[in-house]
Assembly symmetry: C2
Homo-oligomer: 210 residues x 2
Amino acid sequence: MKNTNKIIVYQIICLLLMVAIGVLLFNNQKEKTVMKKESFSLEETALSVIMNRKSVRNFIKEKPVSKEDIDIIIKAGMAAPSGRDARPWEIVVVDNRKSLDAMAEKLPYAKMLMQSPVAIVVCGDTTKSSYWYVDCSAVTENILLAVEALGLGAVWTAAYPYEDRMNVVVENLNLPNNILPLAVIPIGHPQGEHKAKDKYDADKVHYNQW
Amino acid sequence: MKNTNKIIVYQIICLLLMVAIGVLLFNNQKEKTVMKKESFSLEETALSVIMNRKSVRNFIKEKPVSKEDIDIIIKAGMAAPSGRDARPWEIVVVDNRKSLDAMAEKLPYAKMLMQSPVAIVVCGDTTKSSYWYVDCSAVTENILLAVEALGLGAVWTAAYPYEDRMNVVVENLNLPNNILPLAVIPIGHPQGEHKAKDKYDADKVHYNQW
């Protein structure tokens, strides 16, 4: 090859290499931006889920919640602490449309069961703990947080301590005498925008003495 | 410049560009590995904190918990849901060694207050809700999860529903008549190894009917 041709070849190689560097730098930057958006530290993520949990009362009715997600949510619930490690909780998953509608009809604050594809009912075994409702409240909160983490929506509708509401649930789910329902939690894919409330109130924090 | 010299210059430029590409590729890979280790998706992180929360009863006594962490923990607590949005919670932060030791002495299951540099006492305002202990249980669970997310340790020791234990806390913190304590939560840097229990029990999951 003539020297002038060699020079042209080297110029082309240099140009290609510079283009390659450009592409690498651009992709690197793009990946970092994506990663920055989708990845979080262990701390900020759990805390952000706690802070962003909100009551979701509107659901996309036709869109089911996967069995995998329900299993994750239940496992999160059962990771709650309990007094004397008694674990007095029992979980009823309701995805039967007839049952959901029947409970919606009779529970004044659970009308959204008509829209939600599934509900989790957190119950307590009164023979295992006299304050099962305390432990089961921790279960319920874990469930709500797992729902938020999975990008789903839910709302805590109270059965306990209302005798009439508890009776509706007991009858519909055929609960035995020693099992009482604490909360009926409709779960689904949120419909529309939902925002968490900022409920922090410095006046409710006291130091050492009231 | 002579053509042969030009060729040498271009060869050197090509070599440098190739080295640059090598360095870029290597750094890119290294960064990805680091990111993979230290970053998590929103979902897995919150869920892993829920699953990894454990009762920590041994603390490094001399190692304080920062004011910033205590504030984050309290904010997480107050992000809990409450019936009719009544927010009946009140928080007492105890970091006075005398108070911590005095409560440790009289509370049978809170001896670890002697080691913990601080405790958060979750209380409820009985005039704001007749089932304040349900809402305050959700607050307590949020606090325990925030503690876990921050790499700290804590344990839920019950005041409510035990009259005698509640009285100890009321006296020590000078709580007014309408404020009752649900839980005394010693918080600190964990001493030794602590592992979460796997409490999932498939027999406690029911579908549609008991």
